[in-house]
Symmetry: C2
DNA sequence: CCAGTATATATCAAACTGATATATCATGCA
DNA sequence: TGCATGATATATCAGTTTGATATATACTGG
């Protein structure tokens, strides 16, 4: 198999922001990238080891007194080059796995109320996600406008960086990618309405 | 591990339409479900065997003279029940892996023209897909309106079913799920414009 | 009659997933 | 003070999934 190893570049990319531990990386992905990406420990830790072996990252134990053992990884020049090369390579089209679409598609021979039920559940699920995203959006917009970084965000930025200027940049990129997620959900909701109308005819 | 085995239900669901071979199933997924699902032979053939072992499908060799060996699988009562049960179970939220979003996110510290280049490429890629989808949409809409099924579609429906009434139902479900894909792409294009505007400020 | 393509089944190493095991430190509260 | 709960942190692994490839037959046009 040709292998894609996107994880490698995701990790490398995050390390260009600042040195991190495997745990930090996981949290970063879960908090900030979850609507378009995911990684898991089973992938992160071996990748980190591999990066060290390939000379793309260095591993250092950071034991702050009275704190748990931490291994912090930093990107090397070679790693930066590999990351940069990857950015210029052709980008795969988005990959989607939508279980609802599958169920809906496969139910077309069944009574219509079955399909309506599926759509209504999907609608509710997506609306719930939209509410959450909108809340995050408001927090981010306010932070950017006021140049203040409330507790909700401090956690993320503690990891991501320190300086106020970096915070602004980070807030902005979080907001921009979140907007992608919001657009995607709104599209799904619009589709639900369209289908519901089609089914009621 | 708890195992998901969605493939099992995807296969079962397609077999509720009509008996098919592994090859048929793969083609069906590639042609009609590709914008929200994918399966591969490495998953389909073992799943088919497993379904037979579990008494959820039957395997029959259909050797039409002068044609290649074919194993056609049909769903059993037990299989139908399993499929029906799955439909009622909670549905996973859509899973997305968007490499462009990842690159864009990770590039926020680099010069803005890098980001602009990424977005422009994404835009072009998505616009290309939209053109294809729109073309399929037109074919499907025309087929439904005129109750005629042109060559483009005959291939799909040869697999999917025979009667004209079933064709209409199939055309409709293909159209409805295709609409989901179109909404999704339009949302991505709208996001591109939004970001481009943000970056130029 | 031959090359290229479509049909069709099958397999496998490599990669990925999600859950779990282990351990340390912080916090509140009874 | 002790003790449950939760956050921090690293690590592993069985079970799943992926994508590529091997094999073979039939069809199609030049």
């Amino acid at each position: 198999m040709a292998s894609k190893q996107k994880t490698k570049f995701a990790v490398l990319g995050l390390l260009t922001w600042k040195p991190m531990s495997g745990y930090d990386i996981k949290k970063m992905v879960d908090v900030g990238l979850s609507h378009f990406w995911n990684e898991n420990y089973g992938q992160i830790y071996p990748t980190l080891e591999q990066l060290v072996r390939d000379g793309m990252a260095t591993k250092k134990e950071k034991r702050i007194t009275g704190q748990r053992q931490r291994f912090v990884y930093a990107i090397t020049r070679k790693g930066q080059r590999a990351f940069s090369d990857w950015l210029s390579e052709p980008t795969d089209a988005p990959i989607v796995r939508n279980e609802l679409q599958l169920k809906f598609f496969l139910s077309c021979k069944l009574p219509a109320d079955q399909s309506v039920r599926l759509i209504n559940e999907y609608r509710a699920q997506q609306q719930g996600m939209l509410d959450e995203y909108r809340q995050s959006e408001n927090v981010l917009r306010q932070a950017i406008r006021d140049e203040t970084y409330p507790d909700d965000l401090s956690r993320i930025f503690e990891i991501a960086n320190s300086s106020d200027k970096s915070r602004a940049v980070h807030c902005n990129i979080f907001l921009l990618t979140l907007r992608h997620g919001i657009h995607a959900i709104e599209a799904r909701l619009a589709w639900c309405d369209e289908v519901l109308e089609n089914l009621s005819r």
